[in-house]
């Protein structure tokens, strides 16, 4: 092949790189290893992690059972090893599944349109806040302190450089829901959107309708965010909000030490042109058959460059496909039953350990923790709740406890005994 290129040696392939820019030594990395050695190496790492522990952690990442069909489908090379579906004629598999995904996200959230996914819940919420700024022409965002602390950190990082201003409002110390009076006192006509999460970081369900009504008094949008998507199986869709943005990790996406996950943004029809991210639309092929393609790309960076709604390039297609297979496997009845099981398990735990807040909760709640409880549980191979002091110093020794359909009664009893 070198001869066909008129070259004498492989070295000549790089003759255009000036010597001062070249690496004149081998990379200081060991020689390659075999497939068996790679498997063995990662098995060793996996053993250094918590294996065979029962966990009561939630806080934005939930242990839900992953139906076997999910990995069966996403392991197909046709899905796994394809690119972004720019060439519609040979990407109808990916495009059709994204169209179904967009539809089901609309059905769950009560919105008119949903995008093909974002990196995760934290960036989806943040990009949705920027979207609200574009829609309203206002620069201020008012976010509830009961929104996931890490989501709020991402929002601050992005907003700082958009001349955006992020302010927070508090939660009611009894109910754990947003403090409506505090929201009203801080709301002004410079506020682009009010952001609430439900269930919020404390697991408490918010009154979306009331929050929307308050936001509207100042002409602000309500941005609804969620981290526990399974709750949408039993909770009213947040259709009073103007934008819904959240995290789908609960839909058969393994916790995987924090990622990859998939976020979504869904909104009302009238805002679609301000929405970031890929969109799939229905059309026809030249034979008149239904077909799908990427559409409304004039919002996007590869067409609009510096005038784009976001710099986001692709979505989280394979992760969104996991969620799609999950939603179709559980279906209308299954998602409700799954949500009911989560609700029942958490409320059993809540019957044995007193929740700190009085507001309604879905599958996690805050409780005052006796000293050293997590250490005592670790001795029984149980990872207890998330200590909240680093995020909410005012809550003292409180921790956040989560139970899902995978949490067994005997483990909940063990935790309750350790709390007693």
């Amino acid at each position: 092949m070198l001869a066909a290129c008129g070259l004498g040696s492989a070295e000549e392939l790089f003759s255009e790189i000036p010597s001062e820019a070249r690496l004149h030594r081998p990379l200081n990395l060991p020689a390659g290893i075999s497939e068996y050695e790679i498997a063995d190496f990662f098995k060793g790492l996996a053993e250094k992690n918590a294996a065979a522990y029962t966990s009561f952690l939630g806080a934005g990442v939930y242990n839900h059972y992953r139906p076997v069909l999910v990995d069966t489908v996403i392991s197909r090379g046709e899905f796994l090893t394809s690119y972004t579906p720019y060439q519609a004629e040979i990407s109808q598999g990916t495009l059709t599944s994204i169209f179904e995904f967009q539809t089901m996200i609309c059905q769950l959230t009560g919105m008119d349109v949903a995008n093909a996914s974002m990196y995760d819940g934290s960036t989806a919420m943040t990009e949705a806040a920027l979207m609200a700024m574009r829609i309203t022409g206002r620069q201020r965002v008012l976010v509830a302190r009961s929104v996931h602390p890490e989501y709020r950190e991402v929002l601050r990082t992005y907003a700082r450089n958009q001349a955006g201003k992020v302010d927070e409002f508090g939660y009611d110390v009894d109910s754990g829901q947003i403090d409506l009076a505090d929201l009203e006192s801080r709301l002004d006509d410079k506020t682009a959107c009010v952001i609430i999460q439900s269930p919020n970081f404390f697991g408490i369900v918010e009154d979306v309708r009331k929050a929307a009504a308050v936001a509207r008094t100042a002409g602000s949008l309500l941005l609804f965010t969620f981290a526990e998507a399974v709750s949408l199986g039993i909770l009213e869709p947040p259709d009073d909000a103007d934008i819904a943005a959240g995290e789908l990790q609960s839909f058969a996406i393994s916790p995987s030490y924090g990622g990859p996950y998939a976020g979504i943004i869904a909104t009302k029809e009238k805002y679609v042109r301000q929405m970031p991210g890929r969109l799939v639309g229905q059309t026809l092929d030249t034979n008149g058959n239904r077909a799908f393609c990427l559409t409304l790309a004039t919002r996007e960076q590869h067409i609009r460059r510096e005038k784009a709604t976001s710099n986001i390039c692709t979505n989280q297609a394979l992760i969104a496909l996991m969620a799609t297979v999950f939603m179709e496997t559980y279906g209308k009845q299954g998602l409700r039953e799954l949500a009911m099981q989560n609700l029942s398990k958490a409320h059993y735990l809540g019957s044995r350990i007193e929740p700190r807040f009085t507001g309604p909760y879905f599958n996690e709640f805050v409780a005052r923790a006796p000293g050293g409880v997590n250490q005592r549980l670790l001795d029984r191979r149980i990872i207890g709740g998330l200590p909240l002091r680093p995020f909410y110093p005012e809550l003292g020794d409180a921790m956040l406890l989560c139970a899902t359909e995978m949490t067994k009664r005997r483990d909940m009893d063990a935790v309750a005994d350790a709390f007693a």
């Binding site: 690496l23 090379g77 599944s97 460059r305």
Partner: protein, 493 residues
């Protein structure tokens, strides 16, 4: 005509909603071992939804047939060459999939105690170390979720450093050959944009750069090799010009597959860069994500990296949240860990010598295609190329056939099209990147296909203009999709 393909049967498949029938289920849940609660009592009746209107109801076998049938409508690397320029569609090793699914890794919770996360954290430590060596830079963050996300992180880092010196400055210079994400990123990071025109060789024009690089310029965003697949021979001078003005050089690492083991951005003046783990380091594209966009920086930018940073405390790994100069978080948790596992597996499999060999093969494959196709297609910038080659459709356009048509015709020959109409500085661009994955046999099939299409353009242009002919779906009306957007299924009235 079609050595690589013959048509095969694909089934029709309705949408899941059309296939749905009331009462069908495809899931199983264990019996509850706790009392079932009344949702209205637990949540308040007003908060409880009655149903999910329109949600599908399918049996298990219907679900698997549905997705299996849909999958057969996709092209994929597993089916053949995928020469999308700038996208680096290389083989995705399956061992990487297997290890990412090990229970101790896949089921790690990001908030589990650090003492029980040392294995996961070691993946971060080892990958950071390997990427420092490959890029020749001093520190790496693995937090960004994708290339564009890494770009944003990188520009925010530059902004933070300049701010700490008293002035964040106003502008970012971006060559007209750049990826669309570059200008979009600059604006999102709060900068205005100054496009710089490429010179007659498609390269950065040093004289122009010298003129434009003033005290208001924060950085130059450069892709190297550039989007023509050509190494910016003046990169070292360009970096000197910017550094002399107190500005920085950001490198878009999308084309790192041309450099790994051969040249290191840290050695040629780059201050910050991102890598695309889903390109150079073989993590699957998955139909458009997930990716990984690590950012590598020089020492002076390290204090500003996203929080938390991995630290080693008394032989144990730990997350350091006490980072007063940090730009903050760009994403919840620590990064796309599952993608990082796969990239580390790729690096371990190749090792130092293997990474260099992969680069050599990728560059050789692109050169082979260039030499074989040069007699048939116009090469607008006749410079030695690296891992990709950009032709233009000039000769074919004279016959009324354009790059997009040739791309569609390639589908009939069993190949995924090349990248169409990019970079923007080449009119009618045909951007071809074979990667190291392809053997000479596969390259020859591709070359035969391209030559055959060039002949068809001369003799039977209509065949090309109406392509593809062999696909289940014929040419798709994208204009209609945008004019009257239908973005979700609704039941027919």
């Amino acid at each position: 005509m079609t050595k690589a393909v013959r048509p095969h049967i694909t089934r029709n498949e309705p949408l899941a909603f059309e296939r749905s029938s009331p009462g069908k289920i495809g899931y199983q849940l264990p019996a509850l071992d706790v009392p079932e609660v009344d949702p209205a009592a637990a949540l308040g009746a007003a908060n409880v939804r009655q149903t999910i209107e329109g949600f599908p109801e399918l049996s298990e076998v219907e679900v698997i047939r549905h997705f299996t049938r849909l999958s057969t409508w996709n092209y994929a690397i597993d089916l053949g060459m995928y020469p999308l320029g700038s996208c680096t569609m290389k083989y995705n090793p399956r061992i990487n999939e297997a290890v990412a699914r090990l229970e101790g890794l896949a089921w790690s919770h990001p908030y589990q105690p650090e003492a029980l996360s040392q294995g996961a954290m070691e993946v971060f430590a080892r990958l950071e170390a390997a990427l420092r060596e490959i890029t020749g830079l001093d520190a790496v963050t693995l937090q960004p979720a994708a290339g564009a996300h890494g770009e944003l992180t990188g520009i925010l880092l530059i902004r933070a450093l300049l701010e700490s010196r008293g002035n964040p400055r106003k502008r970012i210079l971006v060559p007209d050959s750049a990826h669309g994400t570059n200008p979009a990123t600059a604006v999102i990071a709060g900068y205005s944009l100054l496009n710089i025109a490429s010179n007659e060789h498609g390269m950065i024009d040093l004289e122009q750069l010298n003129r434009l690089a003033d005290e208001d310029v924060a950085a130059l965003m450069v892709t190297n090799p550039n989007t023509l697949g050509v190494f910016e021979e003046n990169i070292v001078r360009a970096a000197e010009i910017l550094h002399a003005k107190g500005a920085m050089v950001y490198m878009d690492g999308a084309n790192m597959n041309a450099l790994a083991g051969i040249a290191r951005p840290g050695d040629f003046g780059v201050d910050v860069m991102h890598l695309n783990l889903h390109k150079t380091f073989s993590t699957p594209h998955g139909g458009g994500g997930p990716g990984g966009g690590p950012v590598a920086v020089r020492r002076n930018l390290e204090p500003f990296l996203p929080t938390p940073r991995l630290a080693r405390v008394n032989d144990a790994l730990s997350w350091d949240y006490d980072r007063p100069h940090s730009i903050g978080r760009v994403k919840a948790f620590y990064g796309n860990f599952g993608v990082l596992v796969r990239a580390l597996a790729y690096i371990l499999a190749h090792g130092g010598p293997g990474l260099r060999n992969a680069t050599v093969d990728a560059v050789m494959n692109a050169n082979y295609i260039r030499h074989k196709l040069q007699p048939y297609f116009d090469l607008p910038y006749d410079r030695p190329n690296m891992h990709e080659v950009v032709f233009s459709d000039m000769r074919q356009a004279a016959k009324g056939v354009h790059t997009a048509d040739i791309a569609k015709r390639l589908i009939d020959y069993g190949f995924h099209p090349y990248t169409v109409s990019f970079p923007l500085i080449v009119h009618g661009a045909m951007m071809i990147e074979p990667t190291e994955t392809e053997s000479k046999q596969e390259l020859d099939l591709f070359i035969d296909a391209m030559i055959s299409i060039a002949k068809e353009v001369e003799e039977t242009p209509d065949v090309v203009l109406k392509a593809p002919h062999s696909t289940r779906t014929s040419r798709v009306d994208e204009v209609m999709a945008a004019r009257k957007p239908i973005l979700r299924w609704r039941p027919s009235e």
